[in-house]
C-alpha cells in the first residue's frame, strides 16, 4: 500500500509524541513492504529518504498570527505538494495525524479523490478545554476530520469513547490501535549514564519525563515530594522535559531542595540511560489519551507509577507492571511511590513484567499490521 501521511511534525522536528509515532509507524510499514510517503513541515522544500520512507518537507509562513492560521497555510502547501507528487505516483489513501493535519488532508482527499484515515492523538477539549472562538475552531477542525475520514483511529481504548462522544462519531468508524515502542532502539542502546550527575550512589532516582504543563501533572508530583522524602530520604527526583520548566523548578526547589534535579535539555540517548537507571518513572498526568512514557520505561525494564486515566489504564497493570494512582491526588502519588521504594525487589520484578508485556502487546510490527487492516477498510 502507498499511504500519504500528513503530519505537521516528523523527526528531527519534534514537539510532542506525534513525530515519533509517525516515524515508527512509517518505517515499520516500509519494513513490511508498503511505501509510505510523508508530507510534513520543514524550513524549506526538501525531500529525504530514511528507513525506506520518502519524506517531503514544505515550509509554512512567518505571517500567521496564530497556530490555526499557520496550520491552514501549511495545509495548502502540503496539498500543493501532494498534487505535484500525484502526477507520477498513485496513492491509496491519505492518513492525517491530529487537527493540524486536517486542512491539508481533507484538501488532498477532495482534490485527489482519496479515502482518508484520521488518527486522533488528543482532543482540544482534553488538552486545554474550549474557552473561546479560537479553541472552538480547533475543536471544529477535529470534528471535521472525524466527519470526513472514512476511518478514525484513536490511540487509547478509553480515549475512543471520548472521541465518539465529543464528535458524535458512529460506533463502527472509530478504531482503537495503541501506540508502540521500537524495542530494537532500546536494546541497541548502551547505558552510559554517569549516575552521579543526577544522584548520589545511595539515592534512588524517581524519574519524571514529560512536558511541564498542568495536563502532565508535575505539580501534583511536586506536592507529594516532601511526604515521600520524610519516609524515604533515599528518593531523588529527576524532572526531565520542556515547557514551563522554570516555573515548576521554583516550586520544587522550595519543597524538596537538593532532592529534586531539573537537568534541562537531555539528549534521547541520555534519556534512555536515565530510564534504564531509574528506580521507577512517574507519570502523574491529569489527561493522557495514551501516554508513551510507561511503554518506553517498560522497554527499559523500569516500572511506572502512573495515574489511572486514559491510556495508562491499559499500559499499566496495577501491582504487576507498575502502580496506579488516583489522578491529581498527591497523597495517592505519595503512597504508591513510597510502596515502590520500600520494596525494590518487587519494583524490579514489575519492571521485568512490564518489559514482557510490551514485547507481547505493543510492538510496532503488530500495530502496523492493525493499521493496514484499517487502511483496507477505508479502501472498501
Amino acid at each position: 500500500m502507498r499511504p500519504l501521511f500528513v503530519t505537521w511534525e516528523y523527526p528531527p522536528y519534534k514537539a510532542g509524541g506525534i513525530a515519533a509515532h509517525c516515524e515508527d509507524l512509517a518505517s515499520t510499514l516500509a519494513d513490511q513492504g508498503h511505501e509510505p510517503v510523508i508530507l510534513t513541515y520543514g524550513e524549506e522544500q526538501e525531500t529525504e529518504y530514511r528507513d525506506g520512507v520518502e519524506i517531503h518537507r514544505v515550509p509554512s509562513t512567518d505571517s500567521a498570527n496564530n497556530t490555526l492560521s499557520w496550520a491552514m497555510h501549511l495545509g495548502h502547501q502540503i496539498e500543493k505538494k501532494a498534487v505535484q507528487l500525484a502526477k507520477n505516483n498513485n496513492f491509496d489513501l491519505v492518513h492525517a495525524h491530529d487537527w493540524m493535519a486536517v486542512p491539508g488532508a481533507t484538501g488532498i482527499k477532495k482534490t485527489l479523490g482519496l479515502p482518508m484515515v484520521f488518527t486522533v492523538h488528543s482532543t482540544q477539549k482534553g488538552r486545554d478545554g474550549i474557552n473561546g472562538e479560537y479553541q472552538e475552531t480547533i475543536h471544529n477542525l477535529e470534528w471535521y476530520g472525524t466527519y470526513e475520514a472514512n476511518e478514525v483511529i484513536t490511540v487509547g481504548r478509553e480515549f475512543s469513547e471520548e472521541v465518539k462522544h465529543n464528535y458524535n462519531v458512529p460506533e463502527g468508524k472509530v478504531n482503537y490501535i495503541p501506540n508502540g515502542v521500537d524495542l530494537e532502539k532500546f536494546d541497541n542502546h548502551t547505558n552510559q549514564l554517569n549516575y552521579n550527575d543526577y544522584a548520589l550512589d545511595w539515592e534512588q532516582i524517581v524519574l519524571f519525563v514529560g512536558r511541564m504543563y498542568p495536563q502532565k501533572g508535575p505539580g501534583h508530583l511536586i506536592e507529594a515530594m516532601p511526604k515521600i522524602l520524610d519516609q524515604k530520604p533515599e528518593a531523588k527526583f529527576v524532572m526531565c522535559g520542556s515547557g514551563a520548566t522554570e516555573h515548576y523548578k521554583g516550586i520544587a526547589k522550595e519543597v524538596a531542595g537538593e532532592k529534586v534535579h531539573f537537568p534541562g535539555y537531555v539528549s534521547d540517548q541520555e534519556l534512555l540511560s536515565l530510564m534504564k537507571s531509574a528506580e521507577m518513572t512517574v507519570a502523574p498526568s491529569v489527561y493522557e489519551p495514551f501516554g508513551i512514557v510507561p511503554l518506553e520505561a517498560a522497554a527499559c525494564q523500569t516500572a511506572t507509577v502512573g495515574s489511572y486515566t486514559g491510556g495508562m489504564k491499559d499500559t499499566i497493570i496495577h501491582e504487576y507492571t507498575g502502580l496506579h494512582t488516583y489522578p491529581a491526588d498527591p497523597n495517592s502519588i505519595q503512597n504508591q511511590i513510597t510502596r515502590a521504594l520500600e520494596d525494590p525487589g518487587w519494583t524490579d520484578w514489575m519492571g521485568e513484567k512490564a518489559r514482557e508485556r510490551v514485547e507481547d502487546n505493543f510492538r510496532w510490527e503488530q500495530i502496523s499490521a492493525w493499521t493496514t487492516g484499517i487502511y483496507s477498510e477505508a479502501l472498501e
Binding site: H76, V83, P103, G107, T111, E133, E136, T137, Y144
Partner: protein, 202 residues
C-alpha cells in the same frame, strides 16, 4: 467551451455574484457552457437557465474569514472534482483571494488553465484583518499561478502592479462598467486555449 466559475457565494445583489452572473450568462449566450460553483449560504439567486449552478455545503465554523475560507476551498475542490467525473472542462475562472487557493490546486491537478479576477486587493482594503498578510500572500500566489489575471478597474490594476509586483502585460482590465468587458474575457479564454493547443502540438 466549458468554463467553471468559482465564487465564494452566489446571491442576487452581491457584487461578485452579479459579476459572475453577467459573465456566465454572456458566455452561455455565445454558445458556451458555463457552470458556477459556490458555497451555499442559503440565499436566493436568479440566473439564466443556460447557466448551471452547483452549490456546496460546509460544516465548519472558523474563528476568522481566513480559516473558514481555507476549509471552504476544500469543499469547493471536492465539488469541481465531482463535476469533472461526468464531463471535461476547459477553463477555471476564480474570483478574488477567497477562491484562489482551491483554484490554484485544481488548475495544477486537472491541468486546466486558470483565470483570476481580482475585484479588490487586500492592500486596497487597508490590511485591516489579523490575517491580511496571509490573504495578500494568497492574492500573490493566485496572480502568480494564473494564466491571466483580470482587474476590475484601473485602481485594482495599479494595486496589482505596485503591491503584488505583477507586470503590466500579465494584467487585463475588464471593467464591468464598460461595454464589451465580457467579450474581452471570452476572447482571452480563446487566446489561452489556442496557446495551449500550440504548446501541446509543439
Amino acid at each position: 467551451m466549458r468554463i467553471i466559475y468559482l465564487v465564494k457565494n452566489f446571491s442576487d445583489g452581491d457584487d461578485l455574484s452579479e459579476y459572475v452572473k453577467s459573465l456566465a450568462e454572456y458566455a452561455a449566450s455565445q454558445g458556451h457552457d458555463p457552470c458556477v460553483v459556490s458555497f451555499d449560504d442559503g440565499s436566493n439567486y436568479t440566473v439564466s437557465d443556460d447557466v448551471e449552478v452547483e452549490r456546496f455545503q460546509l460544516h465548519f465554523d472558523g474563528d476568522s474569514l481566513y480559516t473558514w475560507a481555507m476549509m471552504m476551498n476544500n469543499e469547493m475542490k471536492g465539488k469541481v472534482v465531482e463535476k469533472i467525473e461526468d464531463e471535461d472542462i476547459d477553463i477555471i475562472h476564480a474570483n478574488d483571494w477567497i477562491t484562489a487557493p482551491g483554484a490554484v490546486n485544481l488548475s495544477e491537478h486537472l491541468e486546466k488553465p486558470l483565470c483570476l479576477t481580482i475585484h479588490l486587493t487586500e492592500d486596497q482594503r487597508g490590511f485591516q484583518s489579523e490575517n491580511s498578510d496571509l490573504i495578500s500572500d494568497l492574492e500573490w500566489e493566485g496572480t502568480f499561478e494564473a494564466d491571466k489575471v483580470f482587474a476590475n478597474n484601473n485602481d485594482v490594476k495599479n494595486s496589482l502592479l505596485f503591491d503584488l509586483n505583477m507586470s503590466d502585460k500579465e494584467v487585463c482590465v475588464a471593467d464591468p462598467l464598460h461595454r464589451g468587458w465580457q467579450d474581452k474575457i471570452l476572447k482571452t479564454y480563446h487566446k489561452i486555449l489556442r496557446k495551449e493547443e500550440v504548446e501541446v502540438k509543439a
